[in-house]
């Protein structure tokens, strides 16, 4: 056996996980639901005959009908169409926040775990402190400072979630850097960046993937919250949270308007969570009993 086969690489960490997921029925269903929602959001233009901002002034706050499957909002806009277009904004928001959290949290966590010493002490203190901030409150504060808007709001959410990932990656890095193959790479004179990228990251990435799935659900809920509060997406753009804000204003006249976006958020968050839980069970066999 050559040294190369002893050293795990990136491909070996992610692919088996996906392959094994195929055997978990709940994971497959969740993945199918998510793909369906993503497809619907991308094909919104072709699925619906309406524009998300087109007003039907004769049909305001109308109940579900043949021409408007899920009814219309207070400006006479088709709710089903807005649900499709809102999906892309809500999913974009969730992925953006998680991307920010990953690109901040993963390098910082690896640095803390691999460098050790005072660097680790300082980073760990900051992580611990940031974890004691109520997440959405901090996100609201940061959004206020960055300026209102969906992208700013989700960058704020990403900043707030980064410490969770950093702590996870730090813990994994502490384990991985003791491994023989990292020692071997170091002895061959591999630069630190190479060791981190080729050896530490691939072997610390699996718990990160689990956490990413769970964070996508939390970020989706955060988008809905911030847009509902008026700090996220601004009209005339639409997201599921913005639709709920609109439905809230007309709750007495048309309470049924709040169900489509709410159910959409619930189903999507549930799918992300289920996928995350399935992967976690797969990675940690002792979780199976629980």
């Amino acid at each position: 056996m050559s040294v190369a086969t002893l050293i795990p690489t990136r491909g070996s960490a992610v692919l088996p996980l996906l392959r094994r997921l195929r055997r978990d029925r709940r994971a497959v269903v969740s993945l199918a639901v998510l793909l369906l929602i993503i497809a619907a959001s991308l094909l919104a233009h072709w699925i619906s005959p309406y524009s998300p901002t087109a007003q039907d002034v004769n049909n305001m706050l109308s109940p579900p009908s043949q021409s408007h499957w899920l009814g219309t909002d207070d400006l006479g806009r088709d709710t089903f169409t807005r649900l499709l277009y809102g999906a892309s904004a809500s999913l974009y928001a969730a992925f953006l926040a998680v991307a920010v959290a990953v690109s901040l949290g993963v390098p910082v966590g690896m640095l803390a775990g691999y460098a050790g010493g005072w660097i680790d002490d300082v980073i760990s203190r900051v992580i611990d402190t940031m974890l004691s901030f109520p997440a959405i409150v901090l996100a609201i504060g940061v959004t206020g400072a960055l300026g209102i808007g969906l992208t700013n709001a989700m960058i704020a959410v990403g900043i707030v979630f980064a410490p969770q990932l950093a702590r996870l990656v730090r813990a994994r890095t502490l384990v991985v850097r003791q491994e023989l193959y990292v020692d071997a790479a170091r002895c061959f004179g591999a630069p630190t960046a190479h060791i981190l990228w080729r050896h530490v990251l691939p072997n610390a990435i699996q718990p990160v993937i689990v956490q990413v799935a769970l964070l996508l659900a939390v970020s989706l809920l955060a988008e809905a919250s911030l847009s509902f509060l008026g700090l996220g997406i601004q009209p005339p753009s639409v997201s599921w949270g913005a639709m709920l804000a609109r439905a809230y204003l007309n709750m007495e006249l048309a309470p049924e308007q709040m169900y489509p976006p709410g159910v959409a958020i619930l189903v999507t968050a549930l799918a992300f969570n289920t996928l995350g839980e399935s992967m976690r069970t797969m990675l940690d066999p002792t979780m199976k009993r629980r």
Binding site: S132, G141, A145, G230, L231, T274
Partner: protein, 319 residues
């Protein structure tokens, strides 16, 4: 009462909290200060002259260095002065003191609901793992974690306040003025918040109970003929009590954050409405003050949980 050792432990924990609070003030101040966007420009309003912007910058001390600004703010915060709201001119500390009791009542009630309903559900699921009962409780818990709590709040308002006028739809009443009315106003927001809490408590409790109930020492207890109920109460629950305490602490933190959005649905004049309005109007002293106050509350809760845990389990913190 307290032994020498526990007193020493409490002292040590209190000392450990100091750097955390200092770091927290630094993060609160830094995050909001270091982000792009010039507060002075915002404050001056549209069409302001450069001179006016410079005046405002000087007036609020925004032209001084970051550390001087931070030191000034932290020194005042230490003395309970969180500066004044840019909008109302009222001291931020006063606004917070006025809003906090409302938020506290809702969060406390939600915590009570979460534990009172989540614990029995978790125990039921853990004692019958793999059954349909376990399956349905855990299924409901998955829904509880994924449901947007402000949407649940809207459904509750539509059902219990608009269709059937059992509870008020909006507002709040001070607990000191009229406890019964205050509770009546807090029940719907607390219920909306508690959905996630119940789910979280049930899941965590089931998870740690199943682990203990399937361990070797519990098998031995079964073998020596101990009744299952006594195993559950004396050995199972006693062992998970520290876990449960930690979960309750984390939950209090999460409820405190989630209440911000739920308050908006009920138009409750609490901390949530205070910070949301301030964030929209870019009233940064209020934003800083509210975030800081909430962090202090969370740190205090964490400290309390730590201390209670070390009293429950003497092994903690004495190594």
């Amino acid at each position: 009462m307290l032994t020498q050792a526990s007193r020493a432990l409490i002292g040590r924990r209190l000392l450990q909290v100091v750097p955390v609070v200092v770091l927290a003030t630094f993060i609160v101040f830094g995050l909001i200060k270091l982000l792009p966007g010039d507060v002075a420009v915002t404050l001056a309003g549209e069409n302001a002259t450069d001179q006016r912007i410079a005046e405002i910058r000087h007036l609020y001390g925004l032209d001084r260095s970051f550390f001087i600004q931070y030191a000034g703010w932290a020194w005042n915060a230490l003395h309970g002065d969180l500066s004044r709201s840019l909008l109302s001119g009222e001291p931020v500390a006063d606004e917070i003191m006025r809003c906090f009791p409302t938020t506290l009542l809702i969060v406390a009630l939600a915590l009570v609901f979460s534990l009172a309903i989540g614990i029995p559900l978790g125990i039921t699921a853990a004692t019958k793992p793999g059954t349909w009962l376990d399956g349905s409780i855990m299924g409901l818990a998955s829904l509880g974690v994924a449901v947007p709590n402000f949407w649940l709040a809207m459904i509750l308002v539509a059902t219990f306040a608009l269709t059937y006028t059992i509870f008020p739809a909006t507002g709040s009443v001070a607990f000191s003025a009229n406890p019964a009315e205050a509770l009546r106003h807090a029940i719907l927001p607390a219920t909306a918040l508690a959905a996630g809490g119940i789910a979280e408590v049930a899941r965590q409790l089931r998870s740690s109970l199943v682990e203990i109930l399937s361990s070797q020492h519990v098998r031995t207890l079964h073998a020596k003929g101990l009744a299952p109920s006594s195993i559950l109460w004396k050995h199972g629950l006693k062992n998970v009590s520290v876990n449960l305490l930690t979960v309750a602490g984390l939950l209090a933190n999460r409820l405190l954050a989630a209440t911000v959005v739920v308050e908006a649905v009920f138009a409750v004049p609490g901390m949530g409405n205070l910070i949301v309005r301030a964030a929209i109007e870019r009233d940064f002293p209020v934003v800083q003050g509210v975030v800081f106050a909430m962090v202090v509350v969370v740190i205090a809760i964490n400290l309390l949980v730590d201390l209670l845990a070390s009293l429950l389990d003497p092994r903690i913190g004495r190594r």
